[in-house]
Amino acid sequence: MSKMTQVDPAANAQLFILQDQIHEPMHDRFLWATMMRRDAEAAAIPEWEELREIASKIKEHTLTHLDHYLEEFEANASKRGAHVHWALDAGEHNQIVYSILQDHGVKDLIKSKSMLQEECAMMPFLEKRGIKVIESDLGERIQQLDGQPPSHIVFPAIHKTRRDVAEVFARTIGTDPSDDDPHHLTELMRNNARPRFLAAGAGMTGGNFAIAETGTFMVCTNEGNADIGAAVPPLHIASIGIEKLIPRVEDMGVFLRLLSRSAEGTPLTQYSSHFTGPRRGGELHIVLVDNGRSRRLGMPDFWHSLKCIRCGACMNTCPVYRRSGGLAYGATYSGPIGVILDPTFDEFKYSELPFHSTLCGSCSDVCPVKIDISDQILKWRRVMAKKGYLPLAKRLSFAVAGHVFGHPAEYRAMENVAEPAMDYAPHFLLYNRTMNPWGRDRELPQLAKETFREWYLANRSENANVQQ
């Protein structure tokens, strides 16, 4: 087990904060403003909390009858003329996509943002095999050009300023580096990308929801970019995680009301497109992907994470995410939902993630499908502690503290040493034997001359005797 393979989100977040006085405050302010819009939109719906409850119940029901709904979806989608494929893992998914592209002689692919395709590392896989892939979501395209993964589920380049974007475009598509006007930059990218969109041999999308009773899947975007990929090239391939299933069309009435309000504080995404079978003259392939999901479904403490509809509200509300930037998590999924999903892919690599949280609980309260995210973060800490992944300093000090706190006489002895010494603040601040991390940006708390217990013995001795 090499330390090299473990992601250190605290150190990465520190770099994000310390790089300058611009990035972190901007990131925090933008996402906070998004949260404020979300709160206002949610408050405008009297039955908001009821909607969350119903959405949660629908997802729980579907996940506990997933085999049934998957087969129903496959049957109905096939009936409508779609080709349905099953992929056990990322490798199978990528291979299936590649085979379809090969069968059709496709060399140029336009794709719209899909976290699942990120999870499968599909883009590098295809590019290595000579397929040119162009991302059609603007934020995702910025990240693609900069060679970075998305830092947010919904706002992939939210950690970048417009100056950063101007720099990336100047470097990669030859625009004027001093022009950081957002409208210009968007127009320049549109002009650069559009000819390639029109020439692509296939379009790929993800899917926000897959409806069992009709074999329909839905894709929600604000740029309409998924629609151009699905409507222009003759071949459409959609990658859909098996947890995206919902039973009926009418269930969309619940989820669509929650999704964009939670994600961005808008009533609906600009485009909510239903795809039921191929369009006339076209071909539609749906790849249903497991990639660890059925294993997660079997984890009593963690299966509820499969209810996620990828709105990103937990990221926007998370005070730690807002200060860290999504890249600090070093994983496909960042923020609170990432903290509970990523360890299911690699427990050791992501063993520090559950500690990158104050357990404030806001993520659980904001989640439109009521995932107990904060409780799961604590449960992941327990997993990491049992596996021996706690940082050594913490492990040793907790062993000592655990003993001392369990034995009053030793606790008093420590208190007595602590007071004159003044450098034994509350024990939990001291586990690493140095106050440096506390003291870098904070003054030390002053220990009192007299503990409460001493005061009590001196001032309430009559009670003390009784209680002894």
Binding site: A10, A13, Q14, I17, E24, D28, W32, W48, E49, T317, P319, V320, R323, P354, F355, H356, T358, L359, C360, G361, S362, D365, V366, L378, R381, M384, A385, L390, K394, F398, G402, F405, G406, H407, P408, Y411, E415, A418, E419, P426, H427, F428, Y431, N432, P437, W438, R440, D441, R442, E443, L444, P445, A448, F452, R453, W455, Y456, N463, V466, Q467
Partner: protein, 263 residues
Amino acid sequence: MTTLTQAANGKAFSRDMKIGLFIPCYIDMVYPEVGIATLELLERFGLNVGFPLNQTCCGQPMSNSGDEANAAAAERLFIENFSGYDCIVGPAGSCVKQVRCHFDSMEQTDDVKHVRQHTYELVEFLHDVLKVDSFPWAEFPHSVAIHNSCSSIRGLGIAKPSEIMGAPFNKTEALLSRVKHLVLVPVDRPDDCCGFGGTFCVTDEAVSARMGIEKAHDHLRHGAEYVVSPDMSCLMHQQGVARRAELDLKYIHVAQVLNGGPF
């Protein structure tokens, strides 16, 4: 959420019940005045309050880090110390949350269940159990920003979290608004975490400090002289940040205001 009627197990609260005073370790050592204010305040209501002398820590630092094995001894001792009381009251939301919500690694004996169901944070005890509606002895001619901790808001329900829709309530505010001459000031982000988070504040120092300084500026911007909280642990962190940045803010526990000191 355990409501008070459930907590009293059908037994109505009466003033001659034995109240166990739970003083968390860091209050004992760093903020004894908060312990004194809490005890004196409870005594003002004529309650029979005892302080078990063998108490140490609720086990939260270890438990929150996932280390249940090392939290176990502290948790067992807590039950031993407090199982003989009808109600347990502590001036610390996160420690009370630990007892009520997270004492589940040990066998759930009758004593454990009793202690978990009858341990209250001070504000909820005053607001929900005693139903106090005046503090005639208290006067505080200052502008005050309230900082309810995340554990108190989302763990114990002493205020409505901003993310949850519904009628707003804030028990700390309800109590403080009964104090003569006290002026409450609103802030921009009342329930955004301050970045303390227990061991988080040292393991994630950069993020924690940034959250803390923004919190202090939010308080300052709105003209608060005092930040008042039911959780001194958050304030220990905020105070450290504010003092380093030489910001003119004072941090005290809600018990000190409601009791009229000691400060």
